[in-house]
Symmetry: C2
Subunit: 467 residues, 2 copies
């Protein structure tokens, strides 16, 4: 046992560490699974897998071939299979779901909270979905159908219907007795109790550690704190923002009439934050929806659109350069130095736009402070432009001993860095105002602007100053 | 009241909405605060602020000038001030802390859990820190000093010492009675009970909803599930990974002997995930540690290093171009088209390196699957190279009607896109192997490589094919 995990470790099977100290499956463990699958040794597979955490089973699936996955699925204990399904990557989940009989699946799904079960059912082919739903008890089926009735990426889809609600007039003792008696119908895990009025509207929340601390006779109405219901149609990004800002562990979800319909817990939010961040970072780099298990053509599809757009903007820049054929023919050093001006501008624009996109996402940049932030960016562009422009002018002088060339390139860099600061801030702001995702389109526009301004200012100034 | 928040809303003061529907402070509310501060109307300030959530007070501080902040701090109720401190941006917190008398601060800090209190004390100047600690009760002081004894960004620094532990032989009833009696010494919020052996080593965990559900006579040892203690010296990024992977709400922290010393809760983890993501995304864009309240020179400092490095790599590219003076003089269209090859290569490299950096961070890219991923990237580079190279060759032919030029530029793009795929994957992998943060240095190296290969392949091939 490694010294990081000083306590009971459920992932040690047969005196063998399934995970290394970074909580990544060891190559030797994966090999054992592959061997057992090759031998069709089901009992050995089960003994290897049964103590794994569902998240690790999901990781394991990612390391296996489709063929081996097929064997492993057959031998996973049903409850572990159920808990693994929500953890799988989309592509692998679809493949696994095709192999499981509808009856087995219907049974497995009943082990899950309604949000996780709905996420799995959503991925089924239409005919399989019907069979699975038909094989489920009516209440479970209704819960799943209800969840799928909400739009994707909303609070309604994220929430679980199971929720611990208590009427306003209950005492702590009443509540504890209710939990002991009705435990089966409550969510598997819950962290807050929602106090509801006679219309089932949440009027307060009590963290259960607060409930435990209080005497049995205390009224819930004396213990509760104000709580904000999240409307079921709220976008998941907004939900994540609220959880993060107010450090929530769980929150009640309400329908349009304000009635309690479910709860969202923070563990789902952590996944969403990671997903949204991953999307943002990849979009800024011009990569769309690349799934981690994608094959060569999946990857190509996720990257080639931006390369084609980039080809367009780069050719536009070439057309700008083409206007200065005479200058380039006369003074070859212009051709040698011109990429420097565009490159510095491009990088400076990327810096400004990344900061702007990030600040928009975290709501640090709003229309209230946009003018101030823009003013600061222009000052930064001026200062960086003077600094980098001077540096480049000196290098150009050392290299070509042509004072007017130094003046030209220094001025061009100054102009381009101010343009980069302006574009890097204004473009994301404008896209956000137009309700477009600034992470998707900003890089295209900003690079276009800095390339164009870079070549135009350098070669244009050269035409005036040097010719 | 907006229809998003269907329940009690604590942020409505004087019939006036402090927050808009996106949970951002309204401009009119900020104005009211500014007016009250200008008038020195303390009672009005207090009535405006007292119902705000600490996170909103912190946001408000970000919108105010230093002068107005000074007035607001004077009139914040002490408990609200205490809870606001951990929410403030570093720069603003330091400024606010200088204005608060050590005695007031010592009192305020006692309201906080030990991790939050330590985070505030850490920011104090040495002499103020001594005064504040001297004014605190010995146990609170010891807790803070103990916390600061752990290295920054480790589990020990993140954890709170207050933790709910119960011996193995207790029943559910014993535990609830203990919580009711000792509530004051327990953490303000807790989500799991850690069952410890006689050496105070955690041997199991029980979510408190599970405790509530069970009858009073049930033994904890029958209820508990295995739990992994997190070593106090574990890096916070690793802690976040464990929380995310296993959907933890809280986890016990243990010392080198495996004894329980504290707990980490998921709300702190959400902040760390956002912080690490923010760092990654900004580093990839060549922006270092830019704090959101930074002035012009703070921003300049965070951006100019990468621009200077970029100036160096761009000049290196110019030197490469300089080797082909004769070609450029003879064929001006080479100068017109050469930035396209470098630009496409740079973008393609950015795509590959962003995916690689991201996959390394989420441990989807490991040494186990690196060769397979690299192989896939090369295939992607080849395919994209053929596609984009062909497109560009056609455009060049339409533009210049020179078949050999089309051949030259098509081949150059193909070569550069394969180089971009290789460099974009190998550079982050190599930096990671050398224990360097791949997000910091990868963009420099990869752009350097794609610029150099781009100009070299295009102009070099031109020399061979066209001259």
């Amino acid at each position: 046992m490694s010294d990081r995990t000083a306590t009971l470790d459920p992932v040690v099977t047969e005196d063998h560490e399934a995970l290394d100290e970074d909580y990544v499956l060891t190559a030797s463990f994966v090999e054992k699974v592959v061997d057992a699958a090759d031998d069709g040794d089901g009992m050995r597979l089960r003994s290897l897998l049964e103590d794994l955490h569902p998240a690790d089973v999901a990781d394991l699936m990612g390391f296996l071939t489709a063929e081996h996955r097929g064997v492993v699925v057959l031998w996973l204990p049903p409850e572990l299979l159920a808990e693994t399904l929500p953890e799988l990557d989309d592509g692998i989940r679809e493949e696994v779901l095709e192999q499981v009989a509808p009856g087995t699946l219907a049974e497995a799904l009943q082990e899950l909270d309604s949000d996780d079960a709905a996420a799995v059912v959503e991925d089924l082919e239409d005919d399989q979905r019907e069979k699975v739903l038909a094989a489920m008890p009516a209440t479970d089926r209704a819960a799943i159908e209800n969840s799928l009735g909400y739009a994707e990426d909303t609070a309604g889809r994220l929430m679980q219907r199971e929720v611990m609600a208590a009427p306003l007039f209950w005492s702590v003792g009443d509540t504890i007795d209710h939990v002991r008696a009705q435990g089966e119908d409550l969510p598997e895990l819950f962290f807050d109790i929602y106090v509801v009025d006679p219309h089932n509207k949440p009027v307060g929340g009590i963290p259960i550690s607060g409930l435990l601390r209080a005497a049995r006779t205390v009224k819930l109405s004396d213990l509760m704190e104000p709580v904000n219901g999240i409307a079921a149609d709220t976008d998941q990004e907004e939900v994540a923002y609220i959880f993060e800002k107010y450090h929530l562990i769980s929150a009640p979800v309400v329908d349009s009439a304000g009635r309690l319909v479910g709860q969202i817990t923070v563990d789902d939010i952590v996944n969403i934050i990671q997903e949204e961040n991953r999307e943002d970072i990849l979009r800024l780099a011009g990569v769309s929806d690349e799934s981690r298990g994608a094959g060569v053509f999946g990857v190509v599809r996720s990257r080639i659109p931006w390369l084609v757009v980039n080809l367009g903007t780069a050719l536009f820049a070439s057309m700008v350069i083409g206007q200065f054929e005479n200058e380039l023919k006369a003074l070859v050093y212009l051709a040698i130095l011109m990429p420097v001006v565009a490159s510095i501008g491009g990088n400076s624009g990327t810096q400004a736009l990344t900061v702007a996109v990030r600040s928009l996402a975290s709501r640090e940049l709003t229309s209230a402070n946009a003018p101030r932030i823009l003013g600061r960016e222009v000052m930064v562009g001026l200062f960086n432009g003077v600094t980098i422009g001077t540096l480049l002018a000196v290098v150009a002088w050392v290299w070509f001993r042509e004072p007017l060339l130094s003046l030209t390139i220094g001025l061009a860099v100054l102009i381009n860095l101010v343009a980069a600061s302006l574009a890097g801030t204004l473009v994301p702001l404008a896209l956000d105002r137009l309700d477009r995702d600034p992470a998707v389109a900003s890089p295209v526009f900003v690079t276009w602007i800095t390339d164009t301004v870079g070549f135009l200012s350098f070669l244009g100034l050269a035409g005036v100053i040097l010719m």
